[in-house]
Amino acid sequence: MKQRQQMSKTFIFFFFISLITVFFFRTQIGASVQGIIELIYIPFQKITYAATSDKVIKNESQEVTKLKEENRRLQLQLSNIKNIEREAQALRDQFNTSNEMARKLLPVAILGIGDALFVKKQPTTIIIDKGNAEGVHTNDVVVYKNIILGKVAKASEHVSVVETVYNKRSTFSGQAVQSGAVGVVRAQGDGILFDNVILSEKLEVNDVIQTKGDVNEQGRGYTPGLLVGKITAVHKKASALFQSAEITPMIDMTRLTIAFVLVTQ
């Protein structure tokens, strides 16, 4: 009985300590303490994550990696050509340059992923080693070679959480590079869907989907022309209002150890 009472008292004490902790870490001093602990964590997380992702990479044959890389490069080129064509057309039509805010690429190391690696599923969240102190803010976009990975959902002092394109909360407008069809890119199950495309638009297998541009008033968000993936299947019904397509991403996020954040200057 005495032991039980002691247990209850200790529980109540630590419960209140935990509540106080919630409020303490919202203060300026709390944020500084958090920053210091994050700096201690980062090297350990980097080493652990890099060690495990290297192991995964070694499992794939070099030839397959080479072909994938070549394929990615060609798709990038195709997308760039199409973008240049569109840009030239737009410039011809209107002799004005865009007033897009200046952005710089900030290299970041991936510290961890939201889901287990050994399940071989793409992560819904990733943790990166840069935060507010380094200029990373909520809604900044994370990319790798012009391929979109996701958007910063939460940034602390030295670490940030990125919601990847596989996250159910991540939706943005996309555009097919060849056909120009516009739709909404969102996660579905373990994959990505290019949805809400009107029936009159033409969707084709192997067409590349890129971001159409969803930028907020601070200039943060999905800039146009970032690659999302390639269409692998089209779902079209005459009776439905919209058609959709399944997208296969151009990158395996579980293999990445570095990425880049598009930081608004």
Binding site: T10, F11, V22, Q45, Y49, T52, D115, A116, A155
Partner: protein, 138 residues
Amino acid sequence: MKNSSIILLLFFFAIIVESTIISIPLTLVGLLVLFVNKKDTSIFLYAWLTGVLLDIAYVRTIGLTSIFFTTFIFLVSLYDKKYEIRTLPFCIIAICTGAALLGLLYEKNNILMHAGIAAMIASIIFLITSRISPQVHR
């Protein structure tokens, strides 16, 4: 003192692994097995500390996991009088429930699979500790 240092080191290792490679609640597993074996109030201190460190590693609201961990340990302690908690079936049921609730709290995917793997890890650790410590009965 020496024991507590080793426990803290193991928890730190569990937090690093949990936040980088696998999202299985290893810390919760550690806390449960430790409580089942020690039945000591000092586990609440570990629960609070590991909760804070885990929240920092995951960039979550700091303190929420501490609240969850301390409540979970307290609930487990309530069963101590009614049942024999130093048993493998109790450990499995408790960790499955705890891992599933934690998964729900943080909207994780594959909650059942995570709970299953956590139960497996808990069983292994429990069996190892039961060999080391003669007090533990299967």
